[in-house]
Symmetry: C2
Subunit: 299 residues, 2 copies
Amino acid sequence: MATVATTQFADRLAEAVERKRSQLVVGLDPRPDLLPVELRGEAQEGREGAARACGRFCRGLVDAVAPYVVAVKPQVAFFEALGADGIAALEDACSYARAAGLQVIADGKRGDIGSTARAYAAAFIEGDAPLADALTVNPYLGRDSLEPYFAACRRDGAGIFCVVKTSNPGSADVQDLVLSDGRPVWQQVAELVAEWGAELVGEHGLSSVGAVVGATHPRAVGEARRLMPQAVLLLPGVGAQGATPADVARAFTSGPASALVNVSRDVIYAFRVAGVDWRSAAAAEASRYARDVWAVSGW
Amino acid sequence: MATVATTQFADRLAEAVERKRSQLVVGLDPRPDLLPVELRGEAQEGREGAARACGRFCRGLVDAVAPYVVAVKPQVAFFEALGADGIAALEDACSYARAAGLQVIADGKRGDIGSTARAYAAAFIEGDAPLADALTVNPYLGRDSLEPYFAACRRDGAGIFCVVKTSNPGSADVQDLVLSDGRPVWQQVAELVAEWGAELVGEHGLSSVGAVVGATHPRAVGEARRLMPQAVLLLPGVGAQGATPADVARAFTSGPASALVNVSRDVIYAFRVAGVDWRSAAAAEASRYARDVWAVSGW
């Protein structure tokens, strides 16, 4: 185990999961065209207004879901689509969530080499006051492209979630290509992730190098659990994309915090279906998902 | 061929290459710690100052290299590392370069699914006044994750460069895994890229769906050319990473604009070696690389 100055990410996560009895992560995917009525006017005042409205939406969501979730997962793309103002809103949302005691997983799926990878690590998870606690990353460029993130895990108590098997139908195009030994590419990537994360296993037996596995592939979730016994699995795809909490039950066999279920649209835009106050709707759905996931996790 | 309202990206590129007799792209990788002395003071005034200094550096570089290059390739990570101020500097650098008649290739290596991919397309290459002409993307998530970019190519004359085989040693970890038919993963990705780009071939016989292939693997460059005959190959790795213009000669067999050579550090930080004015040093190196590449291209 590496010596780190601060608590390791996986340990912070494990403590939060056990304290809150929740493995839920809520995705912050602010879209100006879908905001609640009370924010709609501001959202139409150009990019700056839209970014401000998205920022207020994120703060409101953090307040609403904080009791029920261990982390929020801002999707960087939605902020980038609003330019520099959007990034200011992202910075605000992240620091607000961290101040509320939540882990922040920046969903950027970054992947690049050398000094560029170091710049992404600096942008997201490095130093004394990082933007986020963890970052999602892409494995296609190989181990050395991820080394700067591993360094941030060792030194700054950061975490990463490496994309292994995604929830979309097109994930088959590359991830399911069959290797000479008969396994699909994603299973070899899973083994690499397990290997890369071995040096970053914390006191709860979980590594700060986690993996993204789509909940829409229940059999892959089980196989991923077997191939990466110490990785925290981040499972998107529950809710709007069709998977249910029951589909991910087998992800939790390595401990209560060994998997996190991310729900985005079903929580943050719940008001569009329920027709009630957006904060209350988000809180109600987060509470319901947290309870359902905890129940299937068997802890 | 798809009907598009504006000129296709591949055609704009082909015209610029033939007009300028250059296949050179200069990478804009501004790093506050490496800036010229005259910008160093400002660069030390917090993130805002650093972003301002980087913005001035990029503008100066655009002025210096514009006669010799067809495109600049801002590396998004270096701007993101400076937060919202950095993104404002990126926006400024991109619009300044486009006003100077250069194509702008945003090097973001983005890759995500569904509405997230649509948000990245909107952030970078969509609409009437996009940030950039083209974006680098990651193929690991499959075809449907790239569909929003293809739509921007069709509708807005945008381009993409899909990462196929990268220049770093670690590229072997996933890209060189051997498939059941004996080929490495990256060659299958190359075939997918050729297939995806077939509908976006312009009047010069080149597709607006290009590919990133590291110049540090000369044999792979030749093989990539064969597998993707109509793709514009974007070749990083020349200069500081060790490849020479001669290593990429075989990339140009599909036409003068069928490959672009990117040089970053060797041009933009040339002043650190040459000890002359940074603009003059960048101009001199860009001129030299453009001439050398044109010579080996055989056109």
